[in-house]
Subunit: 281 residues, 3 copies
Amino acid sequence: MRLRSLLFAPAVRPDVVRKTPGTGADGVVIDCEDATPADRKAEARSLARTVGAEIAAAIPVWVRCNGVETGLLGEDIRSAIPAGAAGVVVPMVESEIQLDSVRGILAGAGRSELGVIVGLETARGVAAARDILTHSVVVGAYFGAEDFIADMGGVRTESNIEVQHARSEVALAGALGRVPVLDQVVVSYHDADRFIREAGEARAMGYAGKLCIHPSQVQLANRAFTSSAEEIDAARRIVEAHAHAVAAGSGVAVVDGRMIDGPLVSQARRVLGMADADGVD
Amino acid sequence: MRLRSLLFAPAVRPDVVRKTPGTGADGVVIDCEDATPADRKAEARSLARTVGAEIAAAIPVWVRCNGVETGLLGEDIRSAIPAGAAGVVVPMVESEIQLDSVRGILAGAGRSELGVIVGLETARGVAAARDILTHSVVVGAYFGAEDFIADMGGVRTESNIEVQHARSEVALAGALGRVPVLDQVVVSYHDADRFIREAGEARAMGYAGKLCIHPSQVQLANRAFTSSAEEIDAARRIVEAHAHAVAAGSGVAVVDGRMIDGPLVSQARRVLGMADADGVD
Amino acid sequence: MRLRSLLFAPAVRPDVVRKTPGTGADGVVIDCEDATPADRKAEARSLARTVGAEIAAAIPVWVRCNGVETGLLGEDIRSAIPAGAAGVVVPMVESEIQLDSVRGILAGAGRSELGVIVGLETARGVAAARDILTHSVVVGAYFGAEDFIADMGGVRTESNIEVQHARSEVALAGALGRVPVLDQVVVSYHDADRFIREAGEARAMGYAGKLCIHPSQVQLANRAFTSSAEEIDAARRIVEAHAHAVAAGSGVAVVDGRMIDGPLVSQARRVLGMADADGVD
């Protein structure tokens, strides 16, 4: 499952949802939570199911339901998930117990095959991230910076210093749970520089991709979370130099002024493996 | 309880303590710990109680006692806390067990009504911050950067890179315990630029205020931890735009080039709520 | 045990190992892991033991074995550790259970006197750092940034933003376990600026020293992790000013525009203590 870009679209905007296959996003999240006003939840579910089914062959479709504590999640799962959906997105997750509930609801609705992407976007969610992301129902996660900082009583800034700790903790939890994690949205959606900078940071930290709230962000994300030709070339030279070193009886090589041994070779192999996978996509 | 600025004054300097109500600080901490030499502890207690009582009607009065492990805390609580005190500050807290002791001492002294602000300023204290700040006796906390880095065997720098992790962890623990946290002192007390920069970072991270060691820092803290007119105006526009969007059937609005939904609206409401509270202060 | 600089040398390069006493490093790590190809492990052990014994009187000798999960560690400890070795380095440690195994292997080989420096260089290792570094067999640790980021699926950058969280967590764990921690390698071994910058950050965070992979890095590390004449002078003035303040009945002094009390005095005393120890080295 590739998750470089996951594009949000409001369930109550079928025109917007129908355009998402053309964006190149690795998935669409039809949003029944924040983007849906409280008095249109039933309508949103119906639209998510029918419009989601229309596009499910063209793009992986996820539906963001309302959180476990809202009392809306059961009906969301029973009524909003289209045939062929990739899975559900559950926001505001704070504990393993909530995930046990989610599993029960999925089973009760006969939808146990659906994977769950969880939103970690509160102090409690971040604090419990390691437990949450090792829960068996979870197939991915995102870090919700705006909600997290609202819960902290803080202020979002361009520096991202206020989310550095939580963002890192979520990345670590993702690695422990061996599930991909998606980085925070950039709400100033015309600010491509910020998006590119954040995507670079996120990729360095181990994030698999980035949430997108506008089609223009999708290609930025796809590019940022794909190895460049230079990276692939550098990886190839590392693997080759190391192979020569080993053939000559040494475990160490020097490439571009860097001492190369085990970990850098593993890194390089991973880059080449992903590049090969891209090639056959 | 508002804690934008908490101004330290040595117990053995009654002249300094008496001036604190004029500074505009949200509270004074009469210090019987670091600022009191070991051979003047008894005198400090007596001064804290009498001078604290003089000013308690004009400013919330806290007394910083000596830590649980010093053996001085019992006598501090019995003898140094003035009538009308807002509470006690206990430094160097490292475990919930110590807080059980503090509660026992308060009960034994018939002062169970006093809230406790704890100092997290050692490796152990930071490591146990989540447990400590959810203890029922705790009403607030501060992060003591100088002591923390001394305990780590590190070096304090202007970059604050060496405390970023611990400072974030304390903010997170405060949010988990739903208690306000106060940011580190700036010991170079004439360096207003550094104070303002740190206060901005701290507020972004969710800190409620900053420890002050000089009267000139109080107004900097009060200003930094109060929403500016621009912030209040931006919050108002967000709430209004969102209300219009909801009335029109959408959960999403665009304000100043930013996509606005749930979390940003919550943030904006919080800013407006605090601004209203300021208005009626 | 001083660990400002720990210089790696491949076991299969006895010429390189023999030169390490002349570098001024606080210790050499003869590497039987990454720097040794899989088909030369037996030869590497033999060389580590014999060449290590030659130089053990001139420099503290550590041997990096292969990790617990490789199945090679038992033979490494039985065959690769020279007489007079300072201890063993065990890479890729992820749990206390693995350390119980290490202790058993050491006991079985009759080498229980050897201290263990552990490598924390995976998501699991970092996540369990607090438990690992309080295990009684551990005398030190290093943070392996390249391996860690390979395990995270991230990308190493000059900014180090992607390792800031893990690097801080390892420093905190070291302080909790009261063992020295060593900072990440700089693989671009001619980049002295980067090494000096990283060493300064690491020292500020509480690291005792830095792993070195080239002799030219040793003096940079030794200098970075030793107090400068200016630092020693500043520490002396702080201690003196505080003593004068205490004699005059106050716990607070002002030095160079900074308000000085308990924690800064402790810091200054530590700097002077280490400087004295250096003097008698």
